[in-house]
């Protein structure tokens, strides 16, 4: 008798649980708003063609470790990794946790959502790239690489990412089967960008590589004087990327020819943001630079008094950037004037994710912050 009474609620629980592990998209979710990967798009431009008003703090969610991963927003959900070894799935409207996935290593890589799959890489000691169902959190597959900082990008059914073992991997998005690998001379922390059938990635061996997406064959490579963990950004035929030699390089994306370079006062780990006419890049000299995209001429600079590791996000009218002093700042894109800022308790290495609803960023104080726009206009 007692056993039957015990089984009945257990069965009910199991049935309920199994039903509830279906989808966790919030009812009021804006599923159109998307920043589904690091820098927002496969070209890693960091640009969203919206006009953004002054934001205000909407919510903040505390994880168990620093958040250096940049949030990805898709399907009305926010996905972000933390150094507490978990991937958090939050409701971007109110910051409530929808789900979380436990892994075995810290997560610096930014998640990528492609269709209904969530991809995220894990650092040492996990060292794996994972694929989950983006709407249920169920693991689809995993594959072993090494100390992954790079954020994956998809080109059709191919998933590409860099690894701490020095390889650029191309795997099938469905199963994680390795299609090809390309070995560079050192760790690949840069997040690959895709344009025109080529995948571009920087390596700590000081080189930028352009590889055929399908075969991995080298189209060209370009050597700088410093290691590269900045991610390339591509607009049209112009590829921009920063190097630890303090220089921002603009290359011809199809041939790898140097178009122009700009030397800052400190090493560059931030990834550039590109809009139609300008390139925006942060440097360890504490400045955000706005450069003419075609010529590399300096348009304006803005000084934070602290280093910039975070990569800027750009709208029609503003640039959003985080700094090591913990501040997230909004600048007037025309002249770099400070329009708004918010200070978190620790450094910001995460790069802001920008949608019409708001701007989202992680901080080393362990929080994910959401700042909402009253009316963002496309």
């Amino acid at each position: 008798m007692k056993l039957r009474i015990l089984i009945h609620p257990v069965v009910c629980f199991l049935l309920t649980w199994s039903c509830s592990t279906g989808r966790f998209v919030p009812e009021s979710a804006d599923t159109s708003a998307a920043w589904p990967m690091f820098r927002g798009d496969p070209g890693r431009t960091g640009y969203v063609p919206i006009t953004t008003p002054i934001p205000s703090l909407l919510w903040k969610y505390k994880t168990g470790g620093a958040v250096v991963s940049s949030p990805a927003i898709a399907h009305g959900l926010l996905y972000v990794g933390s150094w507490d070894k978990k991937v958090y799935i939050l409701n971007p409207l109110n910051g409530k946790r929808v789900s979380r996935i436990r892994l075995k290593g810290s997560i610096s890589s930014s998640p990528t959502v492609d269709r209904e799959k969530l991809f995220v890489g894990c650092e040492y000691r996990d060292n794996r790239l994972y694929a989950f169902d983006a709407l249920s959190g169920r693991m689809l597959w995993k594959m072993k690489a090494w100390d992954i900082f790079s954020s994956p990008v998809t080109a059709g059914d191919v998933l590409l990412f860099g690894s701490g073992d020095g390889n650029v991997y191309a795997v099938t998005a469905d199963s994680g089967r390795v299609l090809w690998t390309f070995e560079t001379g050192a760790a690949v922390r840069s997040s690959p960008a895709i344009a025109g059938g080529l995948v571009y990635a920087g390596s700590m061996d000081r080189r930028i590589y352009a590889l055929d997406v399908t075969t991995g064959a080298v189209a060209w490579e370009f050597e700088t004087r410093g290691s590269i963990d900045s991610s390339p950004a591509i607009r049209g035929n112009t590829l921009c990327i920063g190097s630890a030699d303090s220089t921002l390089y603009a290359l011809d994306a199809s041939q790898g020819r140097l178009m122009w370079s700009f030397r800052t006062g400190g090493s560059i780990h931030s990834s550039p943001a590109l809009d139609d006419s300008a390139c925006y890049i942060g440097s360890y000299d504490g400045r955000l630079y706005a450069l003419d995209l075609s010529s590399g001429h300096l348009l304006w600079t803005w000084n934070t008094d602290s280093i910039i590791h975070s990569s800027p996000a750009v709208s029609h009218n503003a640039v959003f950037v985080g700094a090591h002093s913990g501040s997230l700042s909004m600048l007037d894109k025309r002249n770099g004037t400070l329009m708004w800022h918010y200070t978190t308790d620790r450094s910001i290495s995460s790069s802001p994710a920008l949608t019409p609803a708001g701007v989202y960023v992680g901080s080393k104080d362990g929080h994910v912050y959401a700042f909402g726009f009253q009316r963002a206009v496309r």
Partner: protein
């Protein structure tokens, strides 16, 4: 040499404070490990202020305000640069405490220990304080500042990264890496570092990275670490260092960290680094010579022999004149006299340093000596609060004069005028600047002849008496730390330098400066100039070609090199005939004296190529970076330590407690609180509460403390068995240091004491007042496992009075005298004499037996209220380094020392039954830098028979 970091000051003080509360009520035992020690004396009182900048709180006193403002500007600049290098932002202001002179720095209470003279600054991680002194050179101070800030950033970065990864425990960075990184990021690579590494490689003394523990804490470790970090940065990129710090949470040990980050193991890194060094340095031997090949070596043995000065004697040839120099072959810094004509290379100590208040320190590397034509030796020594200039008669072997000036804290490098009526020297004032002074002995007039921010050092008087030549950083490259030579005419009108800081309150001296003219210039260092006897040339040490060698320059600034060593040559001085130069040469990690016959000039002298400029440099301005201040310093207490402990034993019960310690930023005021409970049942909880509160004031020379306590515990001794005792009361203690080596201590405790004897059903209640007074003296010099030289003694008299009964409760007399007779550099005979007596109704009891007292007998074998002990021990080196290479494990053991001993003693209650003895041999080994393991084999005797079987004892503890 700098030592660093990671010293837990508060725990030691707390231990002592708790000992004040508890120790007097417990039976005494013969241990004597911790009640000696030298003294830190607060001679000076400082009027502290604070400047707050964007990232720093800078604590300074009013005399050093200009220096503090410059330090603040430098600090902000370094902060910006290090933030980029380490990719880390520090969110709290960094406390930076500045002292303008070394002897002020040694008075600091930010650290409880006595600072060795070689410490250039430190970062203390409990409160995150950086504490640095000026040694007269502002660029050098800047370098020290940057060195410590590297520690700050490294500590913060690793700490934050671990916490952000939710990792509580991690491995410690090897000290060679920590210090090597700080050296490399503060200095880059310079000729001094190159000299040490070159010497190590060429003489086969480079220590592998896997064995760096063998040189733990030494200057050699600093330089090797600096070289390795340089190699990592050049091979793997500057950013690889940052990556190492960021990867810290991922690794279990440093070797794994290297593999993860650089893809190389420690051994592979060592092999690659060593190979690179050999490729770099071995070819040098093709063109350079060891010093012994070009000059005659005058000293032998192990150690440092520097700053030679010839005793002028025109009646003999230069190779027969006596030489006076500074050396430390005994471990103490002493002044020696070498008689060249004796040919035996056995210098004689003429002035002993480091053992008395009169000659507390001779500042081994910082100051020259000088001998006048009539045989008077001038030297500098620390004497109480500041340095003193001494005149020593070489014939009479005694001090004939001592000079000190209240406004001059540090002195160095005195030089006699040709007529012997004046002395010139370098002096550091309270503001932290080093200038040249001329003192007229007959009139007592002191004249300041330079007055600016530049470091002027090593003056030498010209034979005609009209000029001084000296080394200074006032040149175009001085701000980067380079020194060139300057001539100063002592005639003519003085001109005030535009960069004179402060009013330079010098008695009887004008606030003006003479204008020096450059003799050399360039991005290199020229040190220790010495005029030739004919006044036509100046010999000096220079690294202008990458290695320190001796050069001779004429008055037209043409120079030639007269030594070509690969080690390094320093401190030249001419013999009276002008044909020889005596110098100090560096090789095999030692400094020895050499005599060089000046070679014939084979090539034409080379003219000075760099422009001889007089423009100088200006320190950075702070004004825009100050956010607040100067503010008057106010005490603000922050937590230093909070510890808790809990223990349970089924037989003995439980114990739980917590202790916390607070102190102010300058370390002058401390509060300690102890809370514990030994209840075995809930109804005992209140009765068995232990509480202690202590306040310590270390501000003045007279240190004092007071507090209150309530203690309730079970105790046991062999006489009374088990008893429960409850004490509550107040106490006070004072310490007055007479000198660095001697002090008087006293304490008073008044308590209500209630003792309940469980077995005897007896109870004793009393109001007790205890007074203790001690004289402590310590001049010991330590080897790896214990003292080797000097002496230590502690003589204590104490009485406890039962105020209720108005009678004597107990009286105790304790004496512990230890003398160490140095037999050779590494051997000594150690004698200890101990006498304890306690009488009265509740006397103290003393134990004897075991590895720390009467060896061969078991621990606490003898017990009584009276005790005598004599230990005799011959201490000698046994094994310097032993390496075991097992198939699965390799390890090294070092500094294993041996001992032959003979002990005699007894402890008795009432009836004395004669003396007991033991004799045997033992070995001691230091482990992990702070623990000494002891192994003794002894036979015992009652002086009638000898035990058949030896007793073997294995324990821990320093030699007595």
């Amino acid at each position: 040499m700098r030592t660093r970091v990671f010293l837990s000051n508060s725990f030691v003080i707390l231990f002592i404070a708790c000992a004040l509360i508890i120790a007097w009520s417990l039976p005494q035992r013969v241990q004597g490990q911790y009640y000696f020690g030298k003294n830190k004396i607060q001679y000076s009182q400082f009027d502290w202020h604070v400047i707050q900048t964007q990232h720093f709180h800078i604590y300074f006193y009013s005399e050093e305000k200009p220096l503090a403002e410059t330090v603040a500007a430098w600090a902000e600049k370094h902060y910006r640069e290090l933030e980029r290098k380490v990719a880390h932002h520090i969110f709290k202001p960094i406390p930076l405490i500045l002292y303008s002179a070394p002897s002020y720095f040694q008075q600091t209470n930010t650290i409880p220990y006595l600072l060795p003279e070689g410490v250039g600054g430190f970062f203390e991680y409990m409160k995150g304080r950086v504490v640095i002194p000026s040694h007269g050179s502002w660029p050098h101070l800047n370098q020290i500042l940057r060195h410590e800030l590297v520690h700050v950033f490294m500590h913060h970065k690793i700490d934050a990264t671990l916490r952000q990864h939710r990792k509580i425990v991690s491995f410690s960075a090897p000290l060679w890496f920590t210090e090597g990184l700080a050296e490399y990021w503060s200095q880059g690579w310079n000729t001094e570092a190159d000299m040490f590494i070159r010497d190590a490689v060429l003489t086969g003394r480079l220590v592998p990275l896997q064995e760096m523990h063998r040189i733990f804490g030494t200057y050699k470790m600093y330089k090797q670490g600096q070289s390795v970090v340089k190699f990592i940065a050049e091979t793997y990129g500057q950013e690889s260092i940052t990556l190492l710090l960021e990867n810290w949470p991922k690794a279990k040990n440093f070797d794994r960290l290297l593999q993860l980050t650089l893809g190389t193991s420690l051994k592979e890194l060592n092999d690659a680094w060593t190979y690179t060094l050999k490729k770099r340095y071995f070819p040098i031997m093709k063109d350079k010579e060891p010093a012994e090949m070009i000059a005659f070596r005058l000293t032998d043995g192990i150690g440092i022999n520097v700053r030679p000065v010839v005793v002028p004697n025109p009646d003999v040839s230069g190779d027969q004149e006596d030489i006076i120099f500074l050396g430390n072959t005994t471990g103490y810094s002493d002044i020696y006299r070498l008689r060249q004509k004796d040919d035996e290379k056995k210098p004689q100590e003429i002035v002993k340093g480091g053992r008395s208040a009169k000659f507390e320190s001779f500042h081994l590397f910082r100051t020259k000596l000088s001998v006048s034509r009539d045989g008077l030796l001038a030297f500098v020594s620390k004497h109480k609060e500041r340095d003193a200039l001494y005149i020593w008669n070489l014939d009479q072997n005694r001090v004939t004069a001592r000079y000190q000036w209240p406004e001059l804290i540090a002195l160095s490098s005195p030089t006699w005028s040709p007529r012997g009526d004046r002395l010139a020297f370098s002096g550091i004032d309270k503001g932290g600047t080093a200038d040249l002074y001329v003192f007229d002995r007959s009139s007592g007039h002191l004249r300041r002849v330079t007055h600016d921010i530049y470091d002027d050092r090593d003056p030498d008087w010209s034979p005609d008496g009209d000029h001084l030549v000296f080394s200074s950083d006032r040149g175009a490259y001085g701000q980067e730390g380079f020194y060139n030579l300057y001539l100063l005419s002592l005639e003519g009108r003085a001109v005030k330098h535009r960069l004179a800081v402060g009013s330079g309150p010098v008695p009887n001296g004008p606030d003006e400066s003479l204008r020096p003219t450059p003799l050399t210039a360039g991005k290199h260092n020229d040190y220790a100039p010495a005029w030739s006897p004919d006044g036509q040339h100046i010999a000096y040490s220079s690294d202008r070609e990458g290695i320190f060698n001796i050069y001779i320059t004429d008055r037209r600034s043409r120079f030639r090199c007269v030594t070509n060593t690969f080690g390094g040559a320093f401190d030249p001085d001419w013999t009276s005939d002008g044909r020889h130069i005596i110098f100090s040469g560096f090789e095999e990690y030692q400094f020895h004296l050499y005599r060089l016959e000046i070679p014939e000039q084979s090539n034409s002298p080379v003219p000075q190529t760099a422009a001889l400029d007089t423009t100088g440099w200006e320190p950075p301005r702070l004004s825009t970076q100050v956010t607040r201040g100067p503010l008057t310093y106010r005490k603000k207490f922050t937590l230093d330590i909070a510890q808790s402990a809990f223990a349970f034993s089924p037989g003995w019960g439980s114990f739980g407690g917590v202790q916390v310690a607070f102190s102010d930023m300058l370390g002058n005021h401390h509060y300690y609180f102890l809370l514990a409970n030994t209840a075995e049942a809930s109804q005992e909880f209140l009765e068995r509460f232990n509480f202690g509160a202590t306040y310590l004031n270390l501000t003045h020379r007279f240190n004092y403390g007071y507090g209150a306590f309530h203690l309730a515990n079970d105790y046991y001794n062999d006489f009374d068995g088990w008893y429960f005792q409850r004490d509550y009361g107040v106490f006070g203690a004072v310490t007055y240091p007479l000198t660095k080596f001697e002090r008087i201590e006293s304490s008073l405790q008044i308590k209500k004491s209630d003792r309940n004897y469980s077995f005897y059903l007896k109870r004793r209640k009393a109001l007790l007042a205890s007074n203790y007074i001690s004289y402590v003296r310590d001049t010991s010099l330590w080897g790896p496992v214990g003292p080797l030289d000097g002496m230590r003694c502690n003589i204590t008299l104490g009485t406890t009075t039962n105020i209720t009964q108005r009678e004597n409760h107990n009286i105790s007399f304790l004496t512990d005298i230890r003398k160490y007779f140095r037999l050779s550099q590494r051997t000594s005979y150690a004698l200890r004499l101990v006498g304890y007596y306690s009488g009265g109704d509740e006397p103290l009891r003393f134990y004897l037996g075991g590895s720390w007292s009467l060896r061969g007998y078991s621990f606490r074998h003898f017990l009584g209220r009276k005790l005598v002990l004599m230990n005799n021990e011959f201490r000698f080196p046994l094994i310097d380094y032993l390496r075991a290479g097992l198939p699965f494990l390799s390890f090294g053991l070092q500094s294993i020392r041996g001992a032959f001993f003979f002990d005699v003693g007894n402890a008795w209650e009432k009836n004395y039954d004669g003396l007991y003895g033991s004799f045997g041999l033992g070995a001691r080994m230091r482990v992990a830098g702070f623990l000494v393991l002891r192994f003794d084999v002894a036979k015992t005797t009652d002086f009638h028979t000898v035990s058949h079987r030896p007793s073997v004892q294995f324990f821990f503890g320093w030699d007595y």
